[in-house]
Symmetry: D2
Subunit: 293 residues, 4 copies
Amino acid sequence: MTAPSSSQSQLSTATLLLSCPDQKGVLASVSDFVFKHNANILHTDAHTDPDLNLYLMRMEWDLAGFTIPAAEIASRFEPTAQRFSMQWRLAFSSNRPRVAIFVSRNDHCLTDLLYRHEIGELPCDIPLIISNHDDCRRLADFYHVPYQAIAVEKDNKLHAEDFALTLLREHRIGLIVLARYMQILSTGFINQYGNRIINIHHSFLPAFIGAKPYHRSYERGVKLVGATAHYVTEVLDEGPIIEQDVIRISHRDSLQSLIEKGRDLEKVVLSRAVRWHVENRIVLYGNKVAVFG
Amino acid sequence: MTAPSSSQSQLSTATLLLSCPDQKGVLASVSDFVFKHNANILHTDAHTDPDLNLYLMRMEWDLAGFTIPAAEIASRFEPTAQRFSMQWRLAFSSNRPRVAIFVSRNDHCLTDLLYRHEIGELPCDIPLIISNHDDCRRLADFYHVPYQAIAVEKDNKLHAEDFALTLLREHRIGLIVLARYMQILSTGFINQYGNRIINIHHSFLPAFIGAKPYHRSYERGVKLVGATAHYVTEVLDEGPIIEQDVIRISHRDSLQSLIEKGRDLEKVVLSRAVRWHVENRIVLYGNKVAVFG
Amino acid sequence: MTAPSSSQSQLSTATLLLSCPDQKGVLASVSDFVFKHNANILHTDAHTDPDLNLYLMRMEWDLAGFTIPAAEIASRFEPTAQRFSMQWRLAFSSNRPRVAIFVSRNDHCLTDLLYRHEIGELPCDIPLIISNHDDCRRLADFYHVPYQAIAVEKDNKLHAEDFALTLLREHRIGLIVLARYMQILSTGFINQYGNRIINIHHSFLPAFIGAKPYHRSYERGVKLVGATAHYVTEVLDEGPIIEQDVIRISHRDSLQSLIEKGRDLEKVVLSRAVRWHVENRIVLYGNKVAVFG
Amino acid sequence: MTAPSSSQSQLSTATLLLSCPDQKGVLASVSDFVFKHNANILHTDAHTDPDLNLYLMRMEWDLAGFTIPAAEIASRFEPTAQRFSMQWRLAFSSNRPRVAIFVSRNDHCLTDLLYRHEIGELPCDIPLIISNHDDCRRLADFYHVPYQAIAVEKDNKLHAEDFALTLLREHRIGLIVLARYMQILSTGFINQYGNRIINIHHSFLPAFIGAKPYHRSYERGVKLVGATAHYVTEVLDEGPIIEQDVIRISHRDSLQSLIEKGRDLEKVVLSRAVRWHVENRIVLYGNKVAVFG
């Protein structure tokens, strides 16, 4: 697996994520900027996409001894960013991302995420679970996470979304994780959280886009089943893919056992994607994703 | 993955597991026995080991319509078994195996097993968790499983084991699962549950037998880490291997991230081994294990 | 990997492959038939598909000591087959399948198949290579396999196929392997070799059906690329899947490196499928394939 | 798979590989050095090992437009290297590494390497094959590679090595690949090619160090077999690991089929290691290897 290692450190760090037109001097300028303010660089990873002529980069440094106060780094970096026409983002390890999990009745991904969070694998806060059912409340209580059931009926869908949006704002949510949430979100909703909604689809996309992928996998007689974590965009199951994995099946597998094997996949694939997002490792470019180590 | 599919059915079935010297007529005799008593065979899987000259077989059939009462099947089959010098065992789906889980402080495997049990992936009862610490009690309570903490100190080891054995007998335990239980069991204890104790070792055995396998994997610079589920025998980490798997790491992985990736492995590897055992899919031969579909 | 082990033996064996409506007594009747004629059964593998209510089975036995002459086994088995409405086939290890390989310019699969054949991994004869180019002739010569270049132009396509069919008949070909043959065969051609043409498609079907799957994989930003070996049917890339596998890629992979990683997949996936076919391990049912051990 | 993508380009590039004590300013100094001489950086990858307090780095840039002539880059970089106490190496894509392959009778890895070389996957020259047998001469001839058989008997071992060393010097060999060469090299020989001999061991090291790993894997009943490519050091099978991979087996696999599955592993594992070496992607540190993208 290519999963980058986690720093897991208790250091206070800054992480710079950027993409810009590929050109000479980007690396030299960025590394000069951090070096001359006495940064201890922890991680540097960069990538050039020759087709799109893009330069992508992630740099993480220890803030101890850094001579620019955290609150001023962005404004001090701005001239460099403008010079190279960068799209960029600065994140601090002390600012833990705030994540809301949406779930319906299948609770395997939710159980997995809450456990990982508790043992420290996910450096984020989870102040909110939203569900269209009441089934997972006891689990949420066990992990002391507030749980809000919002029934979604055909004729109250937008209403339900509005209520959800209110809660998301109240809790200052920065990332929404659809952990087997079986409702399709409206375009309006999605646009408010552009590239900040991660979904787990239970197939190897783009195979079996849409409903009932396990049933269709079973009918087609594939020899592997897959799972895909991706950012949600307006077009169903077409957003940027963050992570995928597969598991082998055979003619001996019933539809039921195929679903069970798939569950194990969904859990690890979704949790990797969420982790990389909250660890500020992901840079989007075109409809693709670079995951930096 | 070669994991056999689960029947998951609500049928009442009988499963025959056998091994005997390879010879003509075994399959014909066994299938004649079940057929002439009107069995509806659900699964047949067989294997011949040419080195050991052994014939191994698993057959599962629906008891509905079977003309021998369940209680008499064993005695009626006995002559056939004797004729071919079989080692054999008959199991009924209505007799769910009773499993005790031993755990220390790392609770990822325990969490995983209890969740799988709750959603129906493990056809067994779990009436007892034993631990040398109190840490996992809240988790056990959540799943309504009785939890017994038995402190193990240097000078009370056998005493602690005796207490555990008493509890195991009281709960009529048929399988012990060591879900990251960090105490070495005495030979006396092991002998009372021969081939009925499953351990998860956090390396790809026989690499890194013994203590601290992740640390040694990290120091050796391996490119994959593994996990192994095996039956416990008197010789540490040398028992029959039930299941193994690996995950890729790189120079970017710290010891901590290596341990985290290993946890995901341990969970799936141990749960597969436990499942195959309680589904009566495993036949031992020599120091090896055949897992039947 | 689920690849069944190869017998690789020098034994003279018979293999029975069958499918029939699931019903009581099939296994008992078949095993009684072979046992009472003194067969030494080497392998038995069976599967019941509950959705289609089908029973599938493979049995291989040593002909040494078998009391029915090979030439009469089929007729003697016929009554049993009729009683259970079987679709069945009897194959003898002494009758090596005759395989023709079709190839265009990419020779990695051809190179791989010819090498495996030479070292004894593929129990078949390869008396013919057909190509629409002359590029691979030197390779064919190295392995002493007759090579026939048949140019395929837009207006001579059926003519070219007719010539190929003549050659196939002359060489009594039983299996056609499309080892990266970049021409689409006509329905008429396909129908003459129903379920006896194996193709390698360079994607994880049903993702990226049709042309240029690597290019489309690259554009979509998938995190794994795949390869699929399947029987060719009238509908492009929709035939029964025999084997699939995947390999991990990342944002670092260029289209070129993605193609290179894919080549390694194509080789192993196609060779496994061919091997299982010529070892008589495959039973078709519906649009699916069971591969027996 | 973590395999880095290949540049495959026809560009003329320089690659800098370095390791030094982790300290502030390394990246800034190196990127300043290349930037101010007008480099177009193609790839940058770096890693910090906190346990050893080491900074490792690979940088590759296009020489077109670079204002220092290739022949002077090293001397101009020397002051920077000294300032940071670097161990470093500069490689040019125009200087293709010269590789000798050693082989005994098993020719699967040799066949694979020669084919990959021919189709352009391995950017190196292969001017010499050395074998203790004559078996692979025809294959070498097919690929137009000079082949030297050097019989190795108990009492002429050092003599045979001396002859090999003479040939290696004559052909200015920079890397020796042991492609299933079944002779143990003397310490004297190894020391002359320190960290420039790559071996393929047919197990998942450190499991099954030494002779007959497949036989011992079979006897132990493991559920996966592995292969390991490593640099050869004085201590058998203990050198730095470059790449490893595994494949699943089951009780159905005979020793023979296990060996056959292992062959497929050996080929890909060895070829990846050789490729990364000749693409100048490997930095050694301690007894470990970082493979840079």
